[in-house]
């Protein structure tokens, strides 16, 4: 399972997928979110390791 941190909450999801696939499974638009693993920015094509952790950061701001 992959541990996903997003907007202050934490969820677990089956691993063995790319960042883009993870975003899609969560209903997130890849234009609106960036992914960070171990403090480093990773591209949306990066394949997640099972039992890993990832932080998704919303990039939309303003009002």
């Amino acid at each position: 399972m992959v541990k996903v941190h997003f907007r202050g909450s934490e969820i677990e999801t089956p691993g063995k997928m790319t960042v883009r696939e993870l975003m899609k499974s969560l209903g997130l638009n890849p234009q609106s979110v960036l992914a960070v693993v171990d403090g480093n920015l990773v591209s949306n094509e990066t394949r997640l390791s099972d039992q890993g952790e990832i932080k998704l950061i919303s990039v939309i701001s303003g009002g």
């Binding site: 790319t18 638009n29 890849p30 234009q31 609106s32 979110v33 960036l34 960070v36 480093n40 920015l41 990773v42 591209s43 949306n44 094509e45 990066t46 394949r47 950061i57 919303s58 990039v59 939309i60 701001s61 303003g62 009002g63």
Partner: protein, 318 residues
């Protein structure tokens, strides 16, 4: 699809920008953003290398990234943070100010940071100012914009900065353009530009050096640069029209990369060619109280809002 390789060095990329068909590693992404910013500044004649530049910083990714880029590029760039007094149960302004100060200590210790506290200067925070008017959150956002524009302009002029810069990105600009186009608001459409020169009527020069980057690129720049910024949105921005416009545009962008870029740049080209010929901008006059430009006779909107304010400019160098 495998991981894209950096176009410059073939290392593993950290970002792929489909609208440019460009993948870059961390090092080359930073270099690309910085060079592109300098090119954009030069292309639009925003300011010169020896000009004093005032960066309006909010604690967010865009403005702090902009300050970082300008300092790395050798510009004399100082920061201005306006404490709007937004709390909403989460001490939003207080936390935003802490991110600004942390950035200043880490990346800009030789620059000046000017901090304006609205409550100290005018006796009211932005929510308190808005509380005196009907209109709810929409009114608050409009008053917040009015206050920020007035105070940034005032500080830039009084402290002798050649230009005031903000961290607006292409998504911000495209969302505003989208809204103005839906309403065919000609006055606002003609006023939207990456650079607005100083005017004798009392307006300082303004520029938006990051207006060529998508929002995810400015966020990526902040992350790769280890800039700690406030990720939360303003608590009063929830449900804002501009955010809905951003979602619509991002939805189109996802299906057709480059949509936002084309929308904004096509507008700039049309504007340059003279879109809406024959339209005349309202004549600006000086407010009798603050001397800033206003399109209406008598006190400007800011002075009408703060009629009980008699305090002079506050400048605190931290």
């Amino acid at each position: 699809m495998g991981v894209h390789r950096c176009r410059k060095c073939a290392a593993q990329s950290v970002i792929y920008m489909p609208q440019h068909r460009l993948a870059l590693c961390a090092e080359h992404f930073l270099a690309w953003v910085e060079k592109s910013t300098l090119d954009f500044i030069a292309k639009h004649h925003m300011f010169e290398p020896l000009d004093r530049v005032l960066v309006a910083v909010s604690g967010g990714k865009d403005s702090l990234s902009l300050w970082r880029i300008l300092l790395k590029s050798g510009f004399q760039a100082d920061g201005l943070y306006i404490d709007l007094g937004i709390d909403a149960g989460g001490a939003y302004s207080k936390r935003s100010g802490e991110y600004v100060r942390k950035f200043w200590r880490t990346f800009a210790p030789e620059s000046q940071l000017h901090v304006l506290d609205l409550a100290s200067l005018y006796g009211k925070t932005v929510p308190e100012m808005a509380g005196r008017r009907a209109g709810g959150r929409k009114k608050l956002c409009s008053i917040c914009g009015l206050v920020k524009r007035h105070e940034m302009n005032r500080v830039a002029r009084e402290l002798g900065y050649q230009v005031m810069v903000t961290g607006h990105n292409l998504d911000d600009e495209a969302a505003v353009l989208f809204g103005n186009t839906l309403r065919w608001d000609v006055e606002y459409l003609l006023r939207q530009a990456p650079v607005l020169p100083a005017e004798e009527s009392g307006l300082a020069g303004k520029a938006k050096p990051l207006a060529r980057f998508y929002e995810r690129e400015t966020a990526a720049y902040a992350i790769v640069s280890n800039i700690d910024y406030i990720e939360d949105e303003c608590p009063f921005s929830k449900g804002a029209t501009s955010l809905r416009h951003k979602e619509v545009l991002n939805s189109m962008e996802n299906g057709s990369p480059g949509t936002k870029l084309q929308f904004y740049h096509s507008f700039l080209r049309a504007r340059k060619k003279g879109i809406f010929p024959g339209y005349e901008r309202p004549v600006l006059q000086a407010c009798p109280k603050c001397a800033q430009a206003t399109g209406i006779p008598g006190l400007c909107a800011f002075c009408r809002l703060t009629t009980d304010a008699e305090k002079s400019i506050g400048e605190e160098i931290l």
